[in-house]
Amino acid sequence: MGFSDFVQLVVAGLSSGSIYALVGLGLVLANKGTGILNFAQGELVALGAYIALFYSIVVGLPYWQVFILTLLTTAIIGGIMERALLRPLLGAPHFTVVVATLAIGLIIKNALRISWQEAVSTFSSPLDHLMLQIGGININPQYAWITGCSLAIMGMLALFFRKNLVGKAMQAVAQNTSAAQLMGIRVSRIFTLTLAVSTALAALAGILMTPVVGVSAEMSNVILKGFVAAILGGFNSLFGCLIGGLILGLLEIFGGVYFGGLFKDITAFVLLMFILLVRPHGIFGTAEARRV
């Protein structure tokens, strides 16, 4: 493998890795904040992409407006989903909540399929058909944008958690719900907000992926990768999830090179199993991450 091939692989691996990190982060956030393990996260990725497609093609907005409007819309959808569908399940057994999110995913997926029956669609981004040439290495600027944008948003999120009172309140609820209530934090509002943010994160992954892979209901399968990324990172921290996602992205792509494309996923899973056997709580995880 030449150096330029290597760089291309790294760039591609990091970009898919940051998508996995975004999806994983949404999962972790919802789980830590509200106790929900949201199996509809993958469908929310697809939903985000379809909403972006709608704004872009049907309404005809430019990419930047599509970007912001989609995040807002999906955040609202996430909030409504929490209020209307998940709130009634407070106090229900864990598995019931898990299956409820599966049902929500099934509903979203089928609604998307029925309303937009195409094999695949895409919307344009300002970076379409551009190619960066750095020292004889072809780099798709789309990949750089995916990685950069994910990192930026995760950085903003980290700042929000560190500096903003509401962000801190969200962490407080995640760490000790009763104590948060005793501080006068309206836990139910934080639940709604948490689901809104985690849904917007899913949508962000969808928007970023689209110019590269197109929009299809099958996008939702990315949840498995998000799950693995989150577990790899220990399922309890933003940073762990980011590193987990990037490691997974790189692993997959180099696994594919050395063991053949079909074994790409398996390489990742085998390595994950190995890591879990050595460190049962992921790379950055601590024992307190054990829930369920």
Binding site: N176, G184, I185
Partner: protein
């Protein structure tokens, strides 16, 4: 008042009064229902009957955050800090209630004056503090909410006697600054030394009540709680 979890009631026919500006004590062995009573006041447990009045207004059935908004602040058993946040962030979350947020700076300085140790540990994660420091932070966090009534659930649990003493000293200072306090404890000696009125809870019922001086004379109390 009657309260409890599930079909079994833990508390029965409790009548308890905390006078404005006073320190009241709540004594009782493990499992007597002290925590349930305190959770009921804060709205964490649903009350199935009776009345809880704060400054003349009924508060039972209200959401915990609405009770907090009235200035009824609890320091829960086991501290319940936010372990992954810094000391400063924990204190900041203490002043989450709207009325307290404006005076955040001033209260913050006051709390650091009560507990100078917290000043040194300001940037540390709460989970890494020692037991005594955690209890100080828990009380400090509650103080950040500018309570009108401060309720403490077992503040001495798991602490060394010297630290217990210093904590109760601070409680007296807080009370002297005009804050009403209700403290639930197993450590009868400390309570009888600190509180004016004391209630003794046994099997979910008030078994004895009176001023500290009266109860300290009571032979049954002496035998069961003071080990005399």
């Amino acid at each position: 008042m009657v309260a409890g979890y599930g079909p079994v009631d833990v508390l029965h026919d409790i009548t308890l009064e905390v006078k404005d500006g006073a320190i009241a004590g709540l004594l009782g062995p493990n499992g007597a229902g002290k925590s349930t009573l305190i959770k009921s006041i804060s709205g964490l447990t649903r009350v199935t009957g009776g009345q809880i009045l704060f400054e003349g207004k009924p508060i039972q059935g209200m959401a915990p955050e609405d009770i907090v908004a009235l200035g009824v602040i609890q320091v829960p058993q086991g501290r319940m800090l936010f372990p992954e946040l810094s000391v400063e962030d924990n204190l900041e979350l203490g002043s989450y209630r709207q009325a307290a947020r404006k005076a955040y700076r001033a209260t913050f300085e006051l709390v650091e004056e009560y507990f100078p140790r917290l000043r040194e540990r300001r940037q540390q994660r709460a989970g890494l503090l020692s037991g005594g420091e955690q209890q100080m932070l828990a009380i400090g966090r509650a103080m950040m909410a500018q309570p009108r009534l401060l309720i403490l659930d077992e503040p001495s649990l798991g602490l060394a006697p010297l630290i217990i003493d210093s904590i109760f000293d601070v409680l007296k200072r807080i009370n002297a600054d005009g804050i009403t306090i209700l403290v639930a404890e197993q450590n009868a000696m400390k309570v009888l030394q600190t509180a004016e009125n004391v209630y003794v809870l046994e099997n979910g019922r008030i078994a004895h009540s009176g001023t500290s001086a009266q109860l300290a004379q009571d032979t049954t109390i002496q035998r069961s709680y003071l080990g005399i």
